[in-house]
Chain length 139, copies 4
C-alpha cells in the first residue's frame, strides 16, 4: 500500500526518495507513449555526433520520478499535485541510476499546501534536475 501521511504529520525538513537505473527500454517506451522521437533520445548514430556523444534520457522522464515520490512516499495517497518547476541541469544517459528526492521546505496550514524542494541526482551525486513543487493534502 502506498503511504498516506496527513498534513499535520509532515514536518519541515522531511525527505523521501525513489531510485531507479534508467534502461534503454524505459527511454524507448517513454518515447512511444509521449511521442518524443527526437534523435537525441532514440538515434544512437545521430547522437554520436552531438556534444553528449550518446543518447540522452528525456528530461521529463527524469523529472517524472519526482512525482513518483509524491505519489507513493511523501505525502502519498490523498494528495493533489498543484505545480512543479524543473530546471534541467545536466544530461542523463541510459544506464544512469537516478534518485529523485523531495524535501519539505514550507507548510501553509490555511489550505494544507506543502512546498517541496525537489531534485533528481545521478549515481555520482550530481544534480540533473531540480526545482520546487506544491502539493495540497485533503486530510
Amino acid at each position: 500500500m502506498v503511504a498516506d501521511k496527513s498534513f499535520d504529520d509532515i514536518y519541515i525538513g522531511e525527505k523521501a526518495t525513489h531510485s531507479k537505473t534508467i534502461s534503454e527500454s524505459d527511454v524507448y517506451i517513454f518515447a512511444g507513449i509521449v511521442g518524443d522521437f527526437n534523435p537525441m533520445h532514440v538515434n544512437e548514430d545521430f547522437s554520436r555526433k552531438t556534444p553528449f556523444k550518446k543518447r540522452i534520457v528525456h528530461g521529463m522522464l527524469s523529472a517524472s520520478l519526482i512525482s513518483t515520490v509524491f505519489g507513493t512516499e511523501l505525502p502519498g495517497g490523498s494528495s493533489i499535485y498543484l505545480s512543479q518547476e524543473v530546471v534541467f541541469r545536466a544530461p542523463v544517459f541510459i544506464g544512469d541510476t537516478l534518485t529523485a528526492e523531495v524535501e519539505v521546505i514550507e507548510k501553509r496550514p490555511e489550505k494544507k499546501i506543502i512546498i517541496f524542494y525537489t531534485r533528481v541526482f545521478n549515481q555520482k551525486g550530481k544534480t540533473v534536475v531540480d526545482g520546487k513543487a506544491a502539493i495540497m493534502k485533503n486530510k
Copy 2:
C-alpha cells in the same frame, strides 16, 4: 524526421502542437516506468470513492506532451531544454484527448534562449496543465 528550426527562423507568437488520446495502457506503462502506483492512477475500485470517481492520468504524463512538441515540432532537433514550470489545473481521465501547445512569447538573442507559454488542453478545450518553459538553441 523531426523539425529543426534555427533561432532566427522562430518568431514571437509562433505555435506548435502535439495531440494524443491517452489510453489506459499509456497510463499503466507510464506508471510502470516511473514507479508511480498511486491508487488514483491504477486502482479503479479505490478511485470510484474519490471526488474524481475514476482513475486519473499522471500529471507528469500530460505535462510530458509539452516536451514532445519541443522535441519534434518547435524548435525540434538541436535544442537544449532548460526549464519547465507546470501548474496542474484540472484532472485528466483515461480516454481524454490531450493537445499540448507551445507558443513563443520571448526571444533572448544573446544566448539564443526562447521563452514559451505552454499548455495542455483536453477535447473540450479545457486547460489541464499550463506554465512557461525555456529552450536554448545551439544554432
Copy 3:
C-alpha cells in the same frame, strides 16, 4: 524508497498489501514477456465460448502481486525469496481490482526465516489465489 524491516521488527500477525486494477495491457504485455499466448488470455472470440465467457488473467500474473508486497512492503529491501505455493481458486478477469495480502504466521529465528500466509482477492473480497511463502531476512 522501498521498506526494509529487520527480522526482529517483524511480528506474527503483521500484514501488508499491494493493489491494482488489472488492465488489458497488463495481460497482453505479461503474455508477451513470458510467451503465454493461450487463447483463454488473448483471444476474446475463443474465450466467449468457454465457461468463463471472457479472457482471463494469467494466474501467475495475479500470483506475482504477492511477490510485489514482499519486495516493496514487507519485509522489503534485503530479503531472499525462498519459496511460494499458490492455489488458484477463482478466475480473474481484465478490469478486476486485485489486492495481494501477506500475513506473518511463523518466525524461525535460527535462520531468520519468516513464513507468510499469502492471498490475492478481488474487488468483491473473493480469494482468487492463496498459499504460503517463506522469506529469509539477512538482517
Copy 4:
C-alpha cells in the same frame, strides 16, 4: 496455435519446455506491471553492493515461464491451472537464458488431474526454480 492434448493422450514421463533469454526490458516491464521496484531488480548502483553484484530477475518472472509451458505446450488449450509450488534455488541475472521444463509425474483419472514436476534452469543447466504443479483437463 497452441497445443491442446487430452487427458488420455498424456503419459507419465512426458516433458515439454519453453526457453527465453531474459532481457533488461523483460525485467523492467515486468516490474512495471506488478509494481515490484525492489532495488535488487531495478537499481544497478545499489545491486553492485549486494552479494549478487548485479540486478537479479524477479523470481516470479522466472517461475511464470512454467505456466507458459502449461498454457502453450503441455497440456495447452483447455486446462485449468490448479496449483503451483516453487522453490527459488539460485539467482537469475539479466541476460541469462532460461528453460522451463514440465514433466508428468502422476495422473489422477477420477478428476482428470495431472501432477507435474516443474523446474526452470539456466544456460549452464543449473536449476534456478523447481517444485510441483497440478493441472486439470476438461477433456
